[in-house]
Symmetry: C2
């Protein structure tokens, strides 16, 4: 799909108000591609293209836009247009829209909805941010255990417009309690006169609406589910989470972790769309904080003035020594942050991993220490060579321990392990490496080997 070519065709058509030609050109495209085109169009043309879409497609396209673009489009629409658009969104897409908008905008939109949809939206918004409740759709298909397969299929047919997925059919009791989750193939294959009860094994996997949405991702991935039923504490079926939502959450969570590892605030925006101001805001906080941390290193250096004066050559190895500690720390930290995020490693595994990491760190420290000994010897003789090599061993060990234990510590404190970003670990390792290096120098240079 070459968007740019198509845009070059569409622009003159839009500017020339040749609406029918525009419609004909985009009519056959998947909604996701229309959404992409909308995004790439200039703002003034965007609303034109959008208003040309037939109503149900407009809502589908709208669901694929990012929150800020949705907001911008809504501002160019009348109340009547807004009501039709938002009412036609599926409940989970509507919740996603509402939770991203400023509170007043959400309020205004809610009031435009018909009473039934308004109640539904308020309920979904009642679940905590980033919870499964916000992710689920209440549009599922449920049948009773004493129905026949024929009656169930009849019910499925009548519900198909409403339900987001028919791949899994739920069986509930008269109070709405979930009894089983059956794939549609069971119904297709069964004799129409069979009672649903006969297909059931009462084995199913469900999740609470109050769980973190990351748990839904883990559960769907672990059990390869095509739909995950959501229940309340009584086991009453509330809704269902579909794999497309799960994949979106998985991608968003991985991106968040990436941005945190780079010491950038969570962007929640496309890089292509993000304003320079936003990018500045998400970066400046960490950068200034790390400057404050790094200034501590300067004070430490100042306190070792005598040692430095006695051998200025020490300065030439300073960036190498502290940089290597930071690099080793970043390696450990990224491994741990990701392993904790995917559930590969749990907080209680820390001790076993710690001993493994300590062994790896010593081996790495000895390797780089040996390499640097040769360099130091060649450049400045044996005395300096021993100082630098020992310092390398020590900082690689310190950096690796820091990089490993910081994410675990954060996880234990119920903070996000990804806060142990590469720049944070590097800066702490820098500050820690300075006294290690200069103390070793002070000790060895006054008491030469």
């Amino acid at each position: 799909m070459e968007y740019e070519e198509l845009l070059d065709e569409l622009r003159p058509l839009l500017d020339g108000r040749r609406w029918r030609a525009v419609r004909a050109r985009i009519e056959e495209l998947p909604v996701q591609d229309i959404a992409e085109l909308t995004l790439r169009l200039e703002k003034s043309r965007r609303i034109l293209l959008f208003k040309l879409l037939p109503r149900p497609r407009a809502s589908e396209v709208f669901a694929y836009l990012s929150a800020d673009n949705q907001d911008a489009l809504l501002q160019d629409m009348t109340d009547h247009e807004t009501r039709e658009l938002v009412a036609a969104l599926s409940p989970d897409d509507r919740t996603a829209l509402f939770q991203e908008l400023p509170a007043e905008a959400t309020q205004r939109l809610l009031e435009l909805l018909p009473p039934g949809a308004q109640r539904e939206a308020r309920e979904l918004l009642g679940y905590p941010a980033e919870s499964v409740g916000r992710l689920m759709t209440p549009d599922y298909i449920a049948v009773a255990a004493d129905w026949t397969v024929a009656r169930s299929l009849e019910h499925i047919r009548s519900q198909r417009e409403k339900a987001e997925t028919v791949n899994v059919i739920y069986v509930t009791d008269h109070e709405g309690r979930l009894l089983d989750a059956l794939t549609i193939r069971r119904f297709i294959v069964a004799d129409p006169q069979t009672v649903v009860e006969a297909l059931m094994d009462y084995h199913f996997i469900s999740i609470s609406a109050f769980e973190d949405r990351e748990r839904a991702v883990e559960t769907v991935q672990r059990y390869d589910l095509t739909a995950l039923p959501v229940v309340d504490t009584e086991g009453i079926l509330l809704g269902t989470v579909t794999p497309d939502d799960v994949m979106d959450v998985a991608e968003a969570e991985a991106t968040e972790d990436f941005q945190k590892v780079g010491a950038v605030g969570v962007l929640n925006f496309s890089m292509r769309e993000a304003s320079p101001r936003l990018l500045y805001q998400r970066r400046v906080g960490w950068l200034v904080l790390l400057v404050a941390l790094n200034t501590v290193g300067g004070s430490i250096i100042a306190s070792f003035e005598q040692t430095i004066d006695s051998a200025v050559v020490l300065v030439t190895f300073l960036p190498l020594v502290i940089g290597t500690g930071g690099n080793a720390g970043t390696q450990s930290a990224t491994l741990m942050v990701r392993a904790l995020a995917t559930g590969d490693v749990r907080a209680r595994d820390w001790l076993r991993l710690w001993s493994k990491e300590a062994g790896v760190a010593v081996a790495l420290g000895l390797t780089v220490g040996a390499a640097v000994w040769l360099l130091g010897f060649y450049r400045s003789g044996a005395e300096i060579a021993w100082v630098v090599a020992l310092a390398m061993l020590a900082v690689v060990f310190m950096g690796s321990m820091l990089g490993m234990l910081l994410p675990f510590g954060l996880e234990r404190l119920n903070l996000d392990p990804a806060t142990a970003s590469a720049p944070l670990v590097t800066s702490i390792a820098d500050v820690g490496g300075i006294p290690i290096y200069l103390s070793i120098a002070a000790a060895l240079l006054h008491n030469p080997l």
Copy 2:
């Protein structure tokens, strides 16, 4: 699911050879949980538990194990046991197993398979590593356009044991060319006497078997597909990719990128399971390479000996200045690496992003420069304050440009942008920051403001 409790129950049962009790305890568990239990058991007990599983379940459990664990289990099995186990795997799981095993092991296993499965496996293995061909399963359901819905449903019923997914039914012509992809709901809802042709709109999204598997992830996510048909250059249907495989690939690719950003070789292993030797190997290369890079910084410092001697206080600001350049670079690099990986940004967008990044970098540089001016003034007077502040502005700009352009450059050269790791960017920024800082110092301290 509390695995540890269950394991404490199972261990004495396995040691006491109380097979029936073990079977009763695990019989009702989902295969994914049995796989997890198998992993957490000691090696000697693992094979016992595994051999107790009924045959079809054993293969399902096996499919959920990592390659090294699969290999270890196979080594404890007879040829007969191996043949039954591997033959019962689904084709895509079998391909995944074969591609991870050493070549001789793959050869030996292939020869154990029945001829049909052997041919199928060789074909799938003929696709390049990490291609869609390796990911797909040839077990799909296809119907002809001139069949009735009733005949199609009959066919679906007869195929259900074989096919991995029935959510999407494919329509092919007599040469096997893909004509359409229809969801199963279309068949359920339609009148049984309707001809399939009447349900078709000839609109579907497919992918080539030779495409990179990351493209399959992007396509499934973009279009929210429940199954993605795979075709050859002629449009002949070869297989289908299911969302569970796509999710696994998406997670694996994100983990790879994470490890690369941390300057760790791709692990392809669970952190919990990885041996210290493997962890050492995956880290030592980058660490030593970065040491080599960092030694350049030392030579540069040596060449500025005169400047340093004239104001030793400059040394106390050195880690701060070069560290901040590295931090700004890491921020830019992680944003870009992730944006390129998710397809949010393309290589050709670089110019537009460059100008945005340049603006952000100047703003960030001015902010930290101003902060550091105050610190420098307080600590060492106006002269040093100006040197340090200007150096901060310059290194933040340099680091940001480096962090942004390096991933783009790598992408242009068809290398992986994630190679622009945090430690690599930090180390280059360190080396680049030293001459910037010391040149500014040399210039300003001899020609004071």
